[in-house]
Amino acid sequence: MKESKIVVNNKVGLHARPASLFVQEAAKYVSDIKVFTQDPDTKENREANAKSILGVLTLGVFQGMEIAIRAEGDDEENAVSALLALVENNFGED
């Protein structure tokens, strides 16, 4: 199992195009990948399947929130580092 945390800094968070890029990237790996976050108001913990667009969207990750990406499987290392890179580069937004 491989897990890493990162703050989402792009403008719209994990929504719209960034969310779809995230899911498309996740779908490239055989590992099970989950995304975790905490609701900033209620402090409630939420998780979603990183390969599900509907799941990722309903996580409600906005700009400035921290997420944890956890992968389990043969390519877990690559999966986590690729998704981290995507978030780090603000999904190629300007």
Binding site: H15, A16, R17, S20, V23, Q24, A27, N49, K51, S52, I53, L54, G55, L57, T58, G60
Partner: protein, 577 residues
Amino acid sequence: MKHLAGIPASRGICISPVFQFVRQEIIVEEVCVDDPKAEINRLDQAICTAKDQIFLIYQKALKEASKADAEIFQAHRMILEDPELLAEVKKKIENQKVCAESAMQSTAQTFSDMMAGMKDEYFAARAADILDVGNRVLRILLGIAETPSADLKEASVIVADDLTPSDTVMLDKSLVVGFCTARGSATSHTAILARGLGIPAVSGAGEEVLKISNKTTLILDGTKGNVIVDPDEDTINQFQQRIKTAHIIHEAAKKHAHEPAITTDGVNVEVVSNIGNVEGARSALENGAEGVGLLRTEFLYLERNSLPTEEEQYQAYRAILDVFGDLPVILRTLDVGGDKEIPYMGLEEELNSFLGLRALRLCLVRPDIFKPQLRAALRAGVDRNLKLMFPMVAIASEVRAARKVLDECIKELIEEGQPFAEEIEIGIMVEIPSAALVADQLAKEVDFFSIGTNDLSQYTMAADRTNSKVAELSDAFFPAVLRLVRDVIKAAHAEGKWVGMCGELAGEPLAAPILLGLGLDEFSMSPPMVPVLKQILRGLSATEMKALAEQTLQLETPKEIRDFVKQKVPFIAELVG
């Protein structure tokens, strides 16, 4: 043989069989199944077909519409591939032993409700997408055609209650020769589409047209707004002759479409087009338009569930500007109000939305809508000949307020180091009588005017042209309207500013001599009208038309004015039949 009357929505005549455009309802019954495995197989196959359909639409949208439209279908594909959604549907089939239809429908509804419950316009849009995708799979499972036009196999007149952009995007345009709608108006989507395609359309023809059976022959006279159902042979021959004459004139004009429109006394008149997307842009160029006099931007906002982003708009505008290279393109900022169904904007319903908070009035109080559009336009205009135009201006201070927002956007772009169009002409639509009356004051605030005769006529005559009982009164040929046009041109020229016209009057053959005589600098019309209008202008003398224009303004009725022009310029009389 039967005559029906409607509102003329797009010029031209056609004789063709009827194709009734009827939407089929999706009805799902909850059926228990013995073999859940077989049911899941059915589901998988349906999803496969749905993916293929979406892929085809995606490619079509990429080619015809904007990238933004295409991305919607991209999102649809991702929903179809969503592991959570699919697992849920399959679980329902296995555990509850219900049919694929029922499982799909209820699951799509659950996920959609979940999204809608998040009270955010972005999620509301996804909620609609999920239902849309669910319905696509249901139609396949139930054996319902993908669109009501799937059976359209021969050239036909499309008859419908009214048509939306999503209805028409899937229509095979090469098989559509005309539109006839029961409801709708001269300004509805169907009318604009038909004018862009250069085919006739009659709207508001009444419920009766929906009862005409498929393949019945129909004569559609979009110039006059007449529909003849099941015509006799004499009538058909008579109309065929008219179609032939019109065809000959059009073909002759098309040969010279790419030459300038220079009058017999050497005035070079600018002839440009009204467009609303890339398709229109290409058609405008093909028809010899020397640029765009009106780029409608509403297409970016309708039929969706959230505001288009600045980036989306930038891409869409840039794609259109790229078609025209150095030729001028006048972009009109958003022109909507409470009458348009744009749920995500949260517009209040108004008692009289045409006199309400619409167009520039709305944009000035909604910087969240206005600024992204202005920024996108400014950025898209780099190295292109872009001009901006504000709709629905009544008083000079509105222009100053709009300029202030524009200046803010420019300042932001400079701070961000983004390239943008630095020298840009700013104009306004003159479509409210008050603006026409103080045109001398407004001319000091802008670089150009574009007269919108459709609204100017409605507002001047206080007659709604979509109301067939008073539509006749909103005719732009009334001297009251033409005199305002004259005064606007005079006031602008006195300030050294130029005047265009993007209302339907600009593409009206019988109006050309009057408008030329009044000194109009630029004529903007739907692309298919460009060659004919150019040809007409080439046959006229600007100096001689001055006197004719003044004389027409002394007449009393539109009919008198039209007859007078026909008599003085017989070659146009022949042309309009």
